[in-house]
């Protein structure tokens, strides 16, 4: 069975190589076929692995070769499969396959399909490596690899400079987080002498007591990496802009998989984090803050994909909150369900966008529910899951688990934040659906919407719809033994919480329905003048982080660049050259060509010589 494990990433890699070395000779269909097939085969391999694992849940390690071997520094190209990575692997290849398939519909007629699939396959390859890597360096390889693919895919429509800059921003901001992660790696390696995750987690408790400064610092650094990748405060600004990429990309990378890598990292390193309770709490607090901040920002967006982007941040905030509460399995569970319903939402949004001739401003859509029934259904199911509609949706179970764990761990603040977040989620979700699908069609694009057709369009939506309902929640991740057991608590409290949470979600929906269906005018007035408008704008710009970064970091940097661009340090040496030249000119002036002057100089020199000799005794 061990050959299956490498296959999961070698197949997408093979796809990438095939596509990129084709030098443009492959047609659209062939590219899509190769791209999808490679992921499909990878998914098959994964399925086999899952089957095997369910049969005999043992940790599998496959070492391909030693990557580097210098003294203690012995990272391998080794893969480790356990319940956690298997869950992620399933999500990646499974959801990945669906999205690849959908992309075949979405991207039809675009130029550079080959390139698109090459990137997508590369992404799957990197992501799989990220979750399978048995040491942090290999994890980092995947980590950076997905970053690159994210960059490339965001900038896929390269002709618009803004897309390029969005990609640029995404890469740079995550790179900032990556640097923290890297430093964390340095620190861990120095302290523990290994990068192998299993060994690390084994040695850490032996070396450090709980709350030791070093381990806190190490955990903090890892957290920094996770924040960047998972778009949490304060490194979240890139995600909304990342929506410049094709929608399947947003679905795969910026909703289902890559952005959850941070969650995976923390869950993977949970023993380290458990040694650092302060950092763990910080994780939860950041998650809670992101949850709320992104929730409010999502309220004020007008672009479908940006709403979803903020919603993604917010949901990942939930996962961080869960991590902070020590509910690692809940986080992973939510990660999985979130991957389903958020992918569904994105793909549905993609269907809407393509159907409406690339119109994605909600203010210019509306009244689409009849024309695009499948997309509408997708939105409704996905939205319900997102808003955690009780009992019938996958989102309800996972979110409930998180809230319950927060309560059980005694983090009251986190619980409240989670509830408020749920309330906000319901509001913006319904707002999104109402604005997009109901009311009047507000532009020609919306009026002439054409529903998508074909298997590539339908199958992924339907499968994801199914997975987003309570059926998806049946897929319990096999995390036992990998992650610490969930907190126990009294069942009574649990039920009470479930009821409260359901009420909150329903209340949110009701409020949204009331606001956006009944009091639309009032709302429009409130948000167009006075404090309301200001708040609205503030939310619309997601609390102004972008502006602050722009003013505080980006502009000063470019000012520095401009100040230095002509290489001032080298200019100093230029001064020397100028001095030499001036001296040369001055000395050349003495070459008058006049005999008398030459004599004068000689006599002067002689006088000096005699004088010196007379004086120096």
């Amino acid at each position: 069975m061990s050959f299956l494990l490498p296959l999961t990433f070698l197949l997408p890699l093979a796809g990438t190589l095939l596509l990129s070395l084709s030098r443009g000779r492959l047609g659209e269909r062939a590219s899509a076929a190769i791209g999808t097939a490679s992921v499909g085969l990878s998914a098959l391999a994964t399925a086999a692995l899952i089957a095997g694992y369910l049969e005999a849940p043992e940790r599998q390690v496959v070492t391909l070769w030693t990557w580097v071997s210098v003294g203690d520094f012995q990272p391998t190209l080794g893969l480790a499969l356990d319940g956690l990575s298997l869950t992620l692997l399933g999500v990646i290849t499974g959801v990945g396959l669906l999205i690849h398939l959908f992309a075949a519909w979405y991207m039809r007629g675009e130029s550079g399909i080959t390139r698109f699939y090459a990137y997508m396959n590369l992404f799957v390859f990197s992501m799989v490596l990220l979750v399978l890597g048995d040491n942090l360096l290999l994890l980092f390889l995947g980590w950076e690899g997905v970053g690159l693919c994210s960059y490339l895919l965001i900038g896929y429509y390269y002709r618009t400079a803004a897309n390029g800059w969005a990609a640029f921003k995404a890469f740079i901001v995550t790179r900032v987080g990556d640097v923290f992660l890297a430093i964390g790696l340095f620190l861990l390696f120095r302290e523990l002498g290994t990068l192998n995750i299993a060994q690390l987690l084994e040695r850490a408790p032996q070396l450090w007591a709980e709350g030791a400064p070093t381990v806190e610092l190490a955990a903090l650094l890892l957290l920094g990496g996770a924040l960047g990748k998972s778009a949490q405060l304060p490194l979240h600004t890139w995600l909304a802009d990342a929506m410049a990429g094709p929608t399947p990309v947003s679905a795969l990378i910026h909703a289902a998989t890559m952005v959850t890598a941070g969650v995976y990292l923390i869950a993977r390193m949970h023993e380290l984090f458990l040694l650092a309770p302060d950092v763990l709490l910080l994780t939860g607090v950041i998650g809670a803050l992101t949850l709320l901040a992104a929730g409010f920002a999502a309220l004020a967006q007008t672009d479908i994909k940006r709403v979803l982007a903020y919603s993604t941040m917010s949901q990942i905030g939930y996962m961080f909150l869960a991590l902070g509460a020590g509910a690692f399995d809940a986080a992973i569970f939510h990660l999985m369900t979130h991957a389903f319903f958020k992918a569904l939402l994105f793909l549905s949004a993609g269907a809407v966008i393509v159907s409406c001739h690339h119109e994605q401003d909600m203010r210019r859509l509306g009244g689409l529910w009849r024309k695009l029934p499948l997309a509408y259904a997708g939105f409704v199911v996905g939205g319900a899951a997102l808003a955690a509609l009780p009992l019938v949706t996958a989102g309800f179970y996972s979110k409930d688990e998180i809230l319950w764990q927060a309560l059980a761990a005694g983090h009251g603040g986190l619980l409240v934040a989670g509830l408020v977040g749920a309330f906000l989620t319901s509001i913006y979700t319904l707002r999104l659906i109402i604005k997009t699908f109901h009311g009047e069609a507000k532009s020609d694009n919306a009026r002439h919407a054409e529903a998508g057709q074909g298997l590539a369009h339908g199958v992924p939506l339907i499968v994801l719809m199914v997975l987003s309902t309570f059926l998806g929640a049946w897929l319990t991740p096999p995390l036992a033994g990998v992650l610490p057991d969930p907190h126990e608590g009294s069942a009574g409290w649990h039920t009470a919480l479930e009821i409260v949470a359901s009420l909150v979600a329903l209340g949110g929906l009701a409020l949204a329905a009331w606001l956006f269906l009944r009091r639309r005018k009032w709302l429009a007035e409130q948000t167009s003048q006075g404090w309301g408008a200001r708040l609205w704008r503030w939310w619309h710009h997601a609390w102004g982080f972008d502006t602050a970064y722009d003013r505080g970091l980006v502009r000063p940097y470019w000012r520095t660049v401009h100040a230095l661009r002509s290489d001032r340090v080298d200019g100093l040496f230029g001064l020397v050259a100028i001095m030499v030249r001036m001296t040369h000119l001055g000395l050349s002036w003495t070459q008058t060509g006049k005999l008398r002057f030459y004599g004068l100089s000689m006599v002067g020199g002689a006088t000096l010589v005699i004088l010196v000799l007379a004086l120096v005794r």
Partner: protein, 102 residues
Amino acid sequence: MNGVPLDHALVLASILFTLGLAGLMIRRNMVFVLMSLEIMLNAAGLAFIAGGTAWGQPEGQAMFLLVITLAAAEASVGLALLIQLNQRFKTLDTDAVSRMRG
């Protein structure tokens, strides 16, 4: 004390030498420049004579002889160049021969 102190003779030579130098630096006319050179060589000769007589050796005078030889040779060549200068530049101004500079 009978006789001339050596340093007095040398001072005389120095004075003549410096005068020659001054002439060299001041005059622009090539004739004067050549004359100044003769003065300087002569002053050097005087210094040799003074040294030689002070030490009671013939070497001083022998050196003087050599100096005279040189002076004669130099004068002849110098004057030949002077004539050539006058012919080509129609002047004896040494500043005229300052085409090369810089």
